[in-house]
């Protein structure tokens, strides 16, 4: 499979207001701090991790909605890191975002019809075609044609999320970054939307980066899964491998905490001790060491690199994960 997107050592630091006005040091918040991964054409990469660990920021930096502090973004073999103007505009057509917050992302003064057709209008798609596409999209995301002339406030949370999905798909993008696309939906509609996204992927060979907190949803839809903690990638690999043999203690804790829809829970939850450290002053060594049940002296001083931990290419960044040397290429 061809690689569609490569991200090398991506960093996104936000400047903060200094606590002391006389201090020379400019504090920064390291929202994303050296993340590398690649996404193959047609696959779904799930992105999970603690709230505030930098998932949305990573997505926004890839889409170039944010100017990254450092690193390289390569899309279809081209370095797009510093794209501007017309080049960026053209690129936007091929990459879309489904927003986390369906409320904030829909203009309250526009009808559903104009919200969904707006991106097509921007790219000069003729009116007749726009109209046809609109009906098709509404149908595809399960909204009624009678909804067209209504405004966002007349819809429930879940309905608004589907409006956002319809808008994102209007331009038939190649890469869709889905930021919590189904978290506002009840499970039956969620299942419909996920099935829909899978069908669309098949049909149009779409590539997804799928950010979500629901780990069973992520497992279901993803080919591979990446786990982030405090702005860094701590584990990445095939979905089944990561879920069945998580090698990083953070991944293990995360998976153990999934609430289960059964009245009698049997699974033992690994409780993380301590508070989430601040991305402004992340711990030295392994960033997870302040909360890690396995942490030892080395974790406090030395930063673990992402290393290969399985034959199939699962990677984890923990001193105690067993390294597997890749078989020599044939």
């Amino acid at each position: 499979m061809k690689t569609l997107l490569e991200v090398h050592d991506l960093k996104m630091h936000f400047p903060l207001k200094s606590e002391k006005w006389f201090s020379k040091e400019k504090p920064v918040l390291k929202a994303v701090d050296g993340v590398s991964f690649s996404v193959r054409k047609g696959e779904t990469l799930g992105l999970v991790g603690e709230s505030g660990c930098g998932k949305s920021t990573t997505g926004r930096a890839i889409l170039k909605l944010l100017e990254s502090t450092a690193g390289q973004i390569i899309f279809k073999g081209e370095d797009i890191t510093h794209y501007k103007g017309e080049k960026l505009r053209k690129l936007r057509r091929q990459m879309q975002l489904i927003f986390q917050d369906p409320y904030a992302s829909l203009n309250p003064r526009k009808t559903i019809a104009s919200i969904i057709t707006e991106p097509m209008k921007i790219f000069g798609i003729p009116k007749e075609e726009r109209r046809k596409k609109l009906d098709q999209l509404l149908d595809v995301v399960g909204l009624n044609a009678s909804h067209k002339q209504r405004y966002p406030h007349e819809f429930s949370g879940g309905q608004r999320q589907r409006i956002g999905i319809a808008r994102s798909l209007a331009l038939e993008p190649e890469l869709v970054i889905c930021d919590e696309p189904v978290s506002a939906l009840d499970v039956s509609i969620q299942a419909q939307v996920i099935n829909l996204m899978e069908d669309l992927q098949q049909e149009f060979d779409l590539t997804y980066i799928f950010i979500a907190h629901d780990l069973s949803v992520v497992h279901h839809i993803s080919d591979r899964v990446a786990v982030m903690y405090l702005g860094e990638l701590v584990e990445i690999g095939e979905a089944n491998e990561v879920y069945q043999q998580p090698q990083h203690p953070y991944t293990q804790a995360l998976l153990s905490a999934v609430p289960e829809a059964t009245p009698d829970r049997e699974k033992e939850r690994i409780l993380l001790k301590g508070d989430l450290p601040s991305p402004q002053n992340p711990p030295a060594g392994c960033k997870f060491h302040t909360r890690c049940p396995l942490a030892e002296e080395i974790c406090r001083v030395k930063k673990p690199e992402l290393k290969r931990v399985s034959e199939d290419g699962q990677m984890a960044a923990c001193h105690f994960a067993k390294e597997v040397v890749a078989a020599a290429p044939v």
Partner: protein
């Protein structure tokens, strides 16, 4: 049984729009006692948030109107209260975590200003004390470096952090009833567990009652005592949280349970409930779930079922259980 803290009777909230009347909430009944947690689950658009907003007197009017029903809080009907009295109850007695943090946080003010203001409206604290309380609350909901973070604006927070700011504001005045509308959708499972634990603790210490609106049935299993499943503005099923998983009866409920993805190595297509949610302006005659129901019978298309008792503390609105219910009525 303890006297209920809140009792909602036959609540009907409709929206009068140009294109017709939207019966967003159309006959909802439930009650909740101090220390209890009631879960409300159900179809997106089925009236869960509007039920909550009705309790708080926050229905935009026009076009919305509570056309029928009673909302008894500590024995008093909230529908008879003046806006000024409601303002005192909101936040202090009944607090709400709204589903959409970005529309309830003001983007032009710092989080500090908003939190301090909220705290000071309901408690007689100095600004300094209120700030200290805000720091403490942010710590409780797991925001790192709260003192520094207070000075920033909502857009500088991640989605889940905003949601936690809302939670912190809601619990700031130790309410006797907390209505949490999808409070953990933007949170990862470890922080979610921490927040749910915090709610449980407040429930125990302050005897706080909670209405938990969620579509996460895992959350229901974990924290709720009772659940109401809603469909098209009406309760479809009501029972205790254990029973819903072991003995859920309404075809919509069982459909929901089957829609949950399971973490198994072989991936299968998810079993969604076929069809679309109904247009609340033109509800079908008969049972509103009938067009999507795999067990629908001829009668379901014409007869609108009533809520029926099918067991101790178990009610279902479905014609399949009509006989069962009438048998029970005879024997008891």
């Amino acid at each position: 049984m303890t006297t209920p803290l809140l009792e909602v009777r036959n609540l009907r909230t409709h929206f009068f729009t140009k294109a017709g009347v939207v019966k967003a909430v159309d006959g909802v009944d439930f009650q909740i006692s101090p220390g209890e947690t009631l879960g409300i689950v159900g179809e997106s658009g089925s009236g869960k948030s509007i039920t909550a907003m009705s309790i708080l007197g926050l229905i935009p009017s026009p076009p919305g109107k509570i056309v029928d029903g009673e909302i008894l809080f500590k024995g008093e009907n909230l529908l008879h209260k003046k806006e000024k009295e409601m303002r005192k109850i909101r936040g202090k007695e009944i607090a709400m975590v709204f589903q959409d943090p970005m529309t309830s946080l003001n983007p032009v003010f710092t989080v500090e200003k908003q939190m301090v203001e909220t705290i000071m409206t309901h408690e007689s604290l100095t600004k300094k004390q209120a700030r200290a309380r805000a720091v403490e609350l942010l710590q409780l909901v797991g925001i790192p470096d709260p003192s520094q973070r207070l000075r920033t604006y909502p857009h500088e927070f991640s989605g889940g952090m905003r949601q936690r700011v809302m939670i912190a504001m809601a619990i700031s005045c130790n309410p006797s009833l907390l209505i949490a509308d999808e409070p953990t959708t933007a949170l990862d499972v470890t922080i979610q567990a921490q927040i749910l634990e915090l709610f449980k603790q407040m429930q125990k210490e302050l005897n706080m009652a909670t209405i938990m609106i969620t579509h996460d049935l895992g959350v229901v299993a974990e924290v709720c005592d009772e659940v109401m499943v809603m469909y098209a503005g009406k309760p479809a099923e009501f029972t205790n949280a254990k029973e819903i998983f072991t003995n859920g009866k309404h075809p919509y409920t069982t459909g929901l349970l089957h829609s949950i993805p399971k973490i198994t190595p072989e991936k299968q297509k998810l079993k969604a409930i076929a069809g679309q949610p109904p247009d609340l302006r033109h509800l079908p005659q008969g049972c509103s779930f009938a067009p999507r129901c795999s067990k629908a019978m001829e009668r379901c298309l014409t007869v609108d079922p009533e809520m029926r008792q099918v067991g101790e503390n178990h009610q279902v609105r479905c014609l399949l259980y009509e006989d069962e219910a009438s048998k029970k009525a005879v024997t008891t």
